[in-house]
Symmetry: none
Subunit: 192 residues, 4 copies
Amino acid sequence: MSKEKIIPAAIEVFSENGYHRASMDEIAMRAQVAKGTLYYNFPSKSQLFKMVVKAGFEDIMRRTEADLNASLSLEEMILRVIRHHLDLFLESHHVAHIVFNEISNGIEQDVLDELKQLRRQHLNFLAKILEEGKCDDNLLRDVDSNLAAASIVGTIESTCNYYLSHQDEYSRQDLEHFIFTIITKGLFTSIE
Amino acid sequence: MSKEKIIPAAIEVFSENGYHRASMDEIAMRAQVAKGTLYYNFPSKSQLFKMVVKAGFEDIMRRTEADLNASLSLEEMILRVIRHHLDLFLESHHVAHIVFNEISNGIEQDVLDELKQLRRQHLNFLAKILEEGKCDDNLLRDVDSNLAAASIVGTIESTCNYYLSHQDEYSRQDLEHFIFTIITKGLFTSIE
Amino acid sequence: MSKEKIIPAAIEVFSENGYHRASMDEIAMRAQVAKGTLYYNFPSKSQLFKMVVKAGFEDIMRRTEADLNASLSLEEMILRVIRHHLDLFLESHHVAHIVFNEISNGIEQDVLDELKQLRRQHLNFLAKILEEGKCDDNLLRDVDSNLAAASIVGTIESTCNYYLSHQDEYSRQDLEHFIFTIITKGLFTSIE
Amino acid sequence: MSKEKIIPAAIEVFSENGYHRASMDEIAMRAQVAKGTLYYNFPSKSQLFKMVVKAGFEDIMRRTEADLNASLSLEEMILRVIRHHLDLFLESHHVAHIVFNEISNGIEQDVLDELKQLRRQHLNFLAKILEEGKCDDNLLRDVDSNLAAASIVGTIESTCNYYLSHQDEYSRQDLEHFIFTIITKGLFTSIE
DNA sequence: TATGAATGAGTGTTCATTCAT
DNA sequence: AATGAATGAACACTCATTCAT
């Protein structure tokens, strides 16, 4: 079936070029199908894009979930969440870029809405992990879990970007450690 | 002079549509000048975009700097940095979006490089504030200042985005407080 | 197929306007296809132009070759070469003009190079005919065949141009006779 | 006066780019005058072009005439005519190209007419030299002088073009000698 | 006499989308 | 289910020309 050839090609092309510079011609070429086949399987470019982003979100949520279980400590859980997101960002940061950033202006409104909803789902997914952690012990500060989830994603995203253009100065270990520290303990050393 | 009409129009149009969907025709129309006038004043779309982004970065750095002085405590300084960035994000989050996010694929490589340098300058600006704070007292954890700066920006950006679609659930005060807390003290309540 | 509609239209438009004044819009209109169809079939204006020129060169070489055979005397061969070139110049002197003249500045360098090569091939074609003639008898002066070929083409071109704006003063027969005489015997009556 | 700065700049730019690719901006820049100054001194691009071509024709005719006098033999005269035209073609073949070739389609009709007239004048100039030579002795074949003039120019032009891309194979002496031979004695060795 | 900012019609090119096969 | 030729609206950019100063 053609869909299975199209999606990976679309991921590639969208990742390398961003939504607007990606062309359906290029995707068809990489997928080794005719251009018409794209439109036979997906109603439009923006819908195809949505499928790609959706697949990205689902992938990271699936992968993360598979690696978490109730017996883990909250610290370990957060570490693993960070690690999986780092994997996504570093191994295929182009995909990550479109998944987390390219949800920008200039996409058809209806698709844009669906993309925002996907992002919301992802944040919910993270927020829920935090919520569950809250119950267990009193480790977690009493902050809004959704905002906390957003700040985790923002921190990962932004530091990864920085890391990607300064790879000679830090190791991946350094980065992971930094993110874990800053997210869990913040900038200040002082006790509250 | 036309430049003064073009820049605000360009900010508007780039903000509303992102780089690729923004059209020079639209910008010319909003600026009430002929299309040729755009090209008389700016060599290309990407260069015009660069000017807009540059102006954005310079604006926030100027505004922030003007509000900081040596007599402030580190906490107060960080608070003000956050506050100014929040201002930019919330008052004109479209500008902020292009300034901090739209540095994406599909822009001419040379301009892209300059944009990345602008971003680096902005991070340096924040990192320097942190560096100076480090000297004063032992309040700051010994982490890399550049990564720390990146994580601050990422947190602000990401939580603002979330806030913007959930404005009914939080006040601006809540948001500011949350960001300050999470950045300075992190998620965990425990002492190291 | 569209190509068959585009080429003749392109010949027309390039001939009437020269390379730079010819517009893809005009060619599309004359070919009765959409502008996009031009670009579906030819990658660019300059490539389309190249195809037209190439077709012109190939046409005259094919036509000339088809009319020559080993049994002809050298004089007869040269006469036929002149005649065929005259046909091209007079019957469709616009095509001839672009084929022989419009290889000018301001065309993309790569295409320009290919056009120059086409011209070289045509001169080679003529030079080879002369070379073969040289062997047969001792009729031909011992001059460089390539320069000789160039001078034949230059003479035909230039006199045709003159003829075209003075058609009332000469017959086509006069012109053909003049060219043959001047090329084979030169201006002077004297014996060497 | 600005005109004196504009004309040489225009020659340069038209020569390097041909009529259509030459831009008034470039000419103004090279002439070190403002763009408006061009239009203050010349009503339009095509008129400016005409002045350049006219200057070219006048120059070669003046130079040639200055070097001819009644005491010279016809052979010597023709040799000098060839030599002066070769000078023009080889020393500044870009000027020559526009003077002799770029009188093509796509120039405003009125200017085109004037350019054709200039070319006619130049051919007349050459034809008159031939006519005068005819009287002296019976050296010249009885052919139409205008066509003969056209064929001389065509031969020079075409062989020069060939020479310019094969300069390693011939000397300027070779070329001059070839042109003189082919023009005066033609391709054939046989006596009439 | 000279300027240069401003113009706007025109150009080559791209690309998502359609549809007959 | 799949194709690929054809489309046409949209786009960035150019440039001869004008005109207020």
